[in-house]
Symmetry: C2
Subunit: 494 residues, 2 copies
């Protein structure tokens, strides 16, 4: 298998200080050659790895980073922090001419400290979801943070990309869960103190959160954890029309009920995930480690039914879930529609890869917009998709809300069509461009939780204040004076 792989020759020697951490073995290089976006998967299937690193560094301590920065500055190499390698926006695939050093923090995955009273946990940046939850479970705690990439992606990667988590409302972005962090930049460590809140100047945590490896590498963070929930309530409400489900979700989130789940599925999404053959749905869930949830669920269902929904009876469970260290659904016993949907949600990324050999292109994109713009945005996006897919024989589209806020939803679209063998990249980029332009026109952000990477850079530059771009460039000169960190991400090379 590896014999068929086409990669360039290694262009970089490793100094003795790093030799025991480094590998230029083909297997290591190929395993760090791409993310999990459609283009990555397609290229991997073709055996093409144009962004293969020259060397992979498996670092074990912050101190190792200094030698890595030095190597890159001396050799003019690009340093790409790999995280779990699940970027779908070309965040880990530097495609320029410089040699590439890939940094893998997978060996830095320890829970370093638990403050049970304050419910704060200090964890190394390379911890993956299951690894981190297994360590927290011993303390009766959980992050309750389940991005779709949970099994592979890392804490440092979540923070660097502003990942979106488990809860559909409230505390859900990694942004809100970070009480303190440590980023190591080429200019030195950038470590924030841990406070529950502070009003002292612009928040330094928020400057690092979303920095996508362009300013430094996040090696450690202190996070707000939860007691593992023991009360759970879930229900599905069915709607004939999408508009009813959308209004219901808005009513529930604006009522201040803080559901853990409040996801709208359009008809195609409900169909493909086995929730309903012919209706739209609103999935509602509440969870608590403290109290019964009947009052909360009753009120949410009342609001939803008032928008024309038909509710299936709510289901209440008590006790710790058996899905402790993983969110992988069991193969059997998926009794409720919520379980059915969860299973489908988690299979999604694997499905995309599985379909590549059958010449089926499946991809997703996501945004967030204010409630008053959603209807027009949805119309605009579907029209743009239809127009962009038409030359290739048309395709399908489905929609869910991944998160909802008092001021707007985070719509998440999936599209699928027949791939034109050999022209997939061109085909994919024409669709990506069409929908990204549509999002920008309609008042949606270019990304709610997939990050910017290289794929969204053009739209991100149009979205952010121009002067904030200048501020980021100035910050990069401070933190990364040799401009080695993930070049082309957030700030274009000068």
């Amino acid at each position: 298998m590896l014999a068929a792989v086409r990669v360039r020759d290694v262009r970089l020697g490793v100094p003795p200080a790093l030799a025991h951490r480094a590998s230029s073995a083909l297997h290591d290089r190929v395993m760090h050659a791409g993310g999990k976006g459609y283009r990555d998967v397609l290229r991997a299937f073709r055996g093409e790895f144009p962004c293969t690193p020259d060397v992979v560094l498996y670092l074990e301590r912050d101190e190792d980073l200094a030698a890595a920065f030095e190597l890159c500055a001396r050799e003019g190499a690009a340093l790409v922090p790999f995280g779990g390698g699940t970027s779908v926006t070309s965040g880990v695939t530097y495609d320029g001419q410089r040699p590439i050093v890939c940094v893998d923090l997978g060996k830095m995955h320890q829970l370093r400290d638990v403050d049970a009273v304050s419910r704060l946990v200090r964890i190394e940046g390379g911890a993956t979801g299951p690894g981190l939850e297994a360590q927290l479970a011993a303390h009766g705690l959980s992050l309750r943070f389940y991005p779709q990439s949970f099994e592979l992606s890392t804490l440092g990667g979540w923070i660097a990309t502003r990942a979106g988590g488990h809860f559909a409302t409230g505390y859900t972005h990694i942004d809100e869960m970070v009480a303190g962090l440590r980023m190591v930049s080429p200019s030195g460590p950038f470590e924030t103190k841990v406070f529950p809140a502070s009003g002292a100047g612009p928040d330094p945590n928020r400057f690092v959160i979303g920095s996508e490896g362009a300013l430094g590498i996040i090696t450690e963070a202190t996070l707000r954890a939860f007691r593992r929930p023991t009360y759970r309530a879930s229900a599905t409400v069915f709607f004939a029309e999408l508009a009813g489900a959308v209004d219901a979700a808005r009513m529930v989130v604006q009522a201040g009920l803080q559901p853990s789940n409040c996801r709208v599925l359009d008809r195609n999404e409900a169909l493909m995930s086995g929730v309903s053959a012919d209706q739209c749905a609103l999935l509602l869930g509440f969870e608590s480690a403290d109290h019964e949830l009947g009052e909360w669920m009753d009120r949410a269902l009342k609001l939803a039914v008032r928008q024309g929904g038909h509710a299936e009876p709510a289901r209440y469970t008590r006790g710790l879930s058996k899905r402790r260290n993983s969110i992988a659904p069991k193969a059997r016993g998926l009794g409720t529609t919520t379980d059915t949907w969860r299973a489908s949600f988690l299979r999604g990324p694997y499905l995309q890869s599985a379909l590549v050999p059958y010449s089926v292109m499946v991809d997703t994109f996501e945004t967030a917009c204010v409630w008053s713009r959603f209807e027009a945005l949805d119309r605009e996006v579907r029209a743009a998709l239809a127009e962009a897919m038409a030359p290739w024989g048309g395709g399908m589209v489905s929609l869910r809300f991944s998160h909802v806020y008092p001021d707007g939803p985070a719509p998440y679209y999936t599209f699928g069509l027949r791939a034109d063998r050999g022209r997939e990249i061109e085909q994919h980029m024409s669709i990506k461009r069409a929908v990204s332009d549509a999002l920008a026109r309609a008042g949606g952000t270019i990304t709610h939780h997939h990050a910017v990477g290289r794929l969204h850079q053009e739209w991100y530059e149009a979205e952010r204040p121009a002067l904030f771009g200048d501020v980021l460039r100035a910050a990069k000169r401070v933190l990364d004076p040799a401009s080695i960190m993930n070049p082309g991400v957030l700030v274009r090379p000068e």
Copy 2:
């Protein structure tokens, strides 16, 4: 009265383009000569106004700012954004040698846009609390944002200083309420797009929030508003010991109940505010525009009583409050302990001023720390205060929690002692220094919601990552290349 005032001569002429916006009249200059901190009040009482601006600009449009920036750059003047002038940390009192131009946005106070579906409101930066609430009330909305300075301070000032608001938990800082904003910097406008959330790069809103006038002036913002609450529940729980009240507050906030009020008062605070003659107290409140609150309050009371508290029966009210456009309590009819405490809370700042002529020094300081550090912090702070007040004859101290978070409280201290006439500034600074050092040693932030200003700059510099200081310096060079904006705040002059 004004005749007794000592101010320097005007050092600055105003160009014709700004003449109709400008005043160098003594009254205008003196009214913009200081904030509301102890030193400001003391100096005003003495008739000393060392930081009096040379000219006050009452601007009406963003475009006016360009001329103001030009004037300052040309004349080497400092531009001080005044907000409502309620800074207690010397945020509006530039004390260097440069001429001073004070910018007052009081005429820019309009509600510009209401998106009732998304509950978003766009408001000009000069709006005060009452002015803004009066405009929102016409739409059935409210910001539910009541800092102690509500009546005077402005929206732009709240954002610039990361003000803390009404709710003791959840959405409470202005940080979370800002969906988009417009700052005008000397290098041009810095305007963010309005989204309910975004994962695109570091959050540009969060970079402006807390910038304290050092990077530009916030002329407009889009905020998340609420429907005015119609259900309210309140209760007081009494405790013999502070530790019980502290644990109770922690249990309630960690249970995820989201009370609007969850404030701990120590014995002195409860005594002075008329809540209890000899006990500590936990004030609990819930409010909703959507649902009855019995279940929420019952659970909170149960948790509080379990920590050894004695609860007074909860009080439930329904319907819109008559305190619509003001939070000033009525003179009569303050029936409950919560009302009593609210009245006392609001009288606080006026009391400080009123006591100056009687040679009584009263001041407050605040912090936030994780729960596990609170007990030691409280001990350390009280010891430092006692030691610092001893040479002056000793004094009193009281404590409340202004806000609580799942990971920690925001302790708010009041101290009082006899002022040594003529040596008040020295006396005040020795105490301020002692408690600020104690906060830093004990793991508290130098400010939870009073901001940095000039008073906290030294401790702020020790608190923030050193490299973040470098980033702020670089950002200031980008946004304020002539270094005219509020010099000495956040970044020391280079």
